[in-house]
């Protein structure tokens, strides 16, 4: 059983409010951090091995150490709460039910980075969560954790929330900064990186909500203690938001040593698949990462049990593996149609493409059309090859990773489920009435209930 860290107190009644949060040990890390030097905090975060929890998995301490410190120019911390990757709803859970955790982490991180004004950029649809955060910020300010000369340390800090207005692309850090400046969310060409020229051309660090929250236990317990949790380069705990065809959808905190099989079938987590149906496929890290058929999901190509961590989920590369991504875990049971599911994702990426780069702007719409054609029984065999060709021409040819994010789900669906695409082409009447049944699958896809 995972020892919970971020969600340890989530069930304490009233934990949303300052008094209860403080009584349960909240804001201790600020007291400790303000007696340290900023460089020492960065060093602890480096030692912890913490990796960005938004999707890319970049080492946080290293990212922090890149921030430029030109004389006389303010620096900023911006928290990325633009949670929009299909399958991902973990940050929302943290912010909605234990908002002070994020505020506490932000004060410590702001001190480490030298940011006197920090922002939370939150997706526009999370309007009620913005109110919760504003309330928490007001409480923290009233108690002297924000404002001028915090705890007599000489450090000043303010935190403001800023709502987006419905654009997945603003989860990309440079698009987010453009949006914070009051512009369209068009990603910037890098370099310069935000650490050198970010919001208003000032040095900026953009971190995910969960990443910043994890700074709290790292400061409280020390980087080394945090690094001892987990396995290899997957240190600490990770929030996984599980959805799709499972008995217990929700947000789970795991230490990254458990197996995928345990995560899906154990009652502690997803609790198996409704009505005892068989597992067909899963997208383990948010809609952008490759879908895997059940056999490759549970066991790597080398025959090892696949674990819920960065290294194991990507074992085998894209040929036979996937990615940890944002932790958005989407399960498909035996009755689901991979073509149709991929079509909804293609439609999503077409809708969310900012339109700046031709391969993405044109390619996402083209893929959506072809997938719809195949899904509705009007497809031809050559469409499958065309689809493969288009996704290859998007990947790597755009300013930001949305292009890759749109290409990968289509590529993986064809790579692992080509027979299902062909069945749609060969059975135009049938595919409108029923999904590609599991009768077509070999027995080896059958998974024993753990």
């Amino acid at each position: 059983m995972t020892k919970k860290i971020l969600l340890e107190k989530i069930d304490v009644p009233g934990i949303k409010n300052y008094e209860v949060y403080r009584r349960e040990g909240g804001y201790r890390s600020v007291e400790k951090a303000l007696t340290m030097k900023p460089e020492e905090i960065v060093e602890e975060v480096k030692k912890s091995g913490l990796r960005g929890r938004g999707g890319a998995g970049f080492p946080t301490g290293l990212k922090w150490s890149f921030i430029a410190k030109p004389e006389g120019i303010p620096r900023h911390l911006v928290v990325n709460a633009d949670e929009s990757e299909p399958g991902t709803f973990k940050d929302r859970y943290l912010m909605e039910f234990i908002p002070h955790y994020l505020i506490e982490g932000m004060i410590v991180s702001s001190f480490a980075l030298g940011s006197n004004v920090s922002y939370i950029y939150i997706r526009g649809e999370y309007a009620w969560i913005t109110d919760i955060l504003d309330q928490a910020i007001a409480e923290a300010r009233q108690q002297g954790w924000l404002g001028k000369n915090i705890l007599g340390s000489g450090f000043d800090c303010e935190i403001y929330t800023q709502r987006g207005a419905g654009a997945y692309i603003c989860g990309e850090e440079t698009a987010l900064l453009e949006s914070l400046e009051g512009k369209r969310g068009n990603p910037r060409i890098k370099p310069p990186f935000p650490a050198v020229k970010g919001v208003w051309q000032r040095p900026t660090v953009v971190n995910n909500v969960e990443t910043i929250a994890a700074v709290v236990p790292i400061i409280n317990e020390g980087g080394e203690a945090y690094a001892k949790i987990g396995i290899g380069k997957s240190t600490g705990t990770k929030l996984i938001s599980a959805c799709g065809n499972i008995n217990k959808p929700g947000v789970y905190e795991i230490d990254m040593t458990i197996s995928v099989e345990e995560f899906i079938y154990s009652d502690e987590y997803c609790g198996g698949i409704p009505q005892g149906k068989r597992l067909k496929a899963c997208i383990p890290g948010g809609s952008s990462v490759p879908i895997l058929p059940a056999n490759l999901l549970l066991t790597t190509a080398k025959g090892e049990k696949r674990l819920m961590n960065y290294e194991s989920l990507s074992d085998g590369g894209f040929a036979t593996g996937s990615m940890m991504g944002s932790g958005g875990f989407i399960v498909l049971d035996e009755d689901q149609c991979v073509v149709k599911h991929t079509y909804t994702l293609a439609r999503f990426y077409r809708h969310e493409s900012c339109g700046q780069c031709s391969p993405c702007r044109e390619g996402t719409g083209w893929m959506e059309k072809i997938l719809k054609k195949i899904e509705t029984g009007k497809g031809e065999m050559k469409d499958i090859d065309l689809l493969w060709d288009i996704q290859r021409k998007i990947e790597g040819n755009t300013i930001c990773p949305l292009g890759d994010a749109a290409a990968w789900p289509v590529a993986a669906a064809i790579r692992h489920f080509r027979d299902e695409f062909e069945w749609h082409v060969n059975n135009p009447e049938l595919c409108l009435q029923q999904n590609y049944g599991l009768a077509h699958y070999a027995e080896d896809i059958r998974v024993p209930v753990a």
Binding site: G87, E125, A127, A165, K183, G185, N245, L345
Partner: protein, 163 residues
């Protein structure tokens, strides 16, 4: 008349104070949210021009932003706006059926408003409620784990509010 109340103007001033001197353009997204809420649930050219004047921007700077983000309505919408998610995880949990049911129940297509101006139905892409699917956004809140019965109840709730 498209003019914010004194109270709202104070809020705008407060938002502008969050940013460095001269960077009041950063207030554009929050102020557009406010304007949409205040002036009939959508952004007319008149509303956008007013916001441009307020933040000392060129009107085009407002138009290009308003047309980029999906939460800003550039056409009038009904009094009650239903935005139903249709992306992968919601689809796996039956969002197609929910959308069909609302269409049938309100007798409109996606993107349309009922003749009495009460309801508009839209489909949207992932709202981050995948574990609580199917779902829709209604006003500032999410309505989750939707069933036909729940949809009926929400429609009744809206009608009661409008009476």
């Amino acid at each position: 008349m498209i003019v914010f109340s004194d109270q709202k103007l104070k809020e705008v001033k407060d938002i502008i104070s969050h940013y460095p001197e001269g960077k009041q353009k950063s207030a554009l997204l929050p102020v557009l949210h406010m304007a949409q809420e205040e002036f009939g649930g959508w952004l007319s050219v008149e509303t956008m021009d007013y916001v441009a004047g307020l933040l000392q921007l060129e009107p085009i700077e407002v138009y290009e932003v308003a047309s980029f983000y999906s939460m800003y309505n550039l056409k009038p919408v009904g009094k009650h706006l239903f935005e139903v998610c249709q992306t992968g995880p919601c689809m796996l949990n039956g969002s197609d059926d929910i959308i069909e049911y609302i269409k049938h129940k309100l007798n409109i297509q996606v993107g349309e408003t009922t003749a009495d101006g009460l309801f508009t139905l839209k489909t949207v892409e992932c709202l981050g409620a995948c574990g609580y699917a199917p779902m829709m956004q209604y006003g500032k809140t999410y309505r989750e784990h939707l069933t036909k019965e729940k949809v009926d109840a929400i429609i009744e709730e809206c009608k009661a509010k409008s009476n």
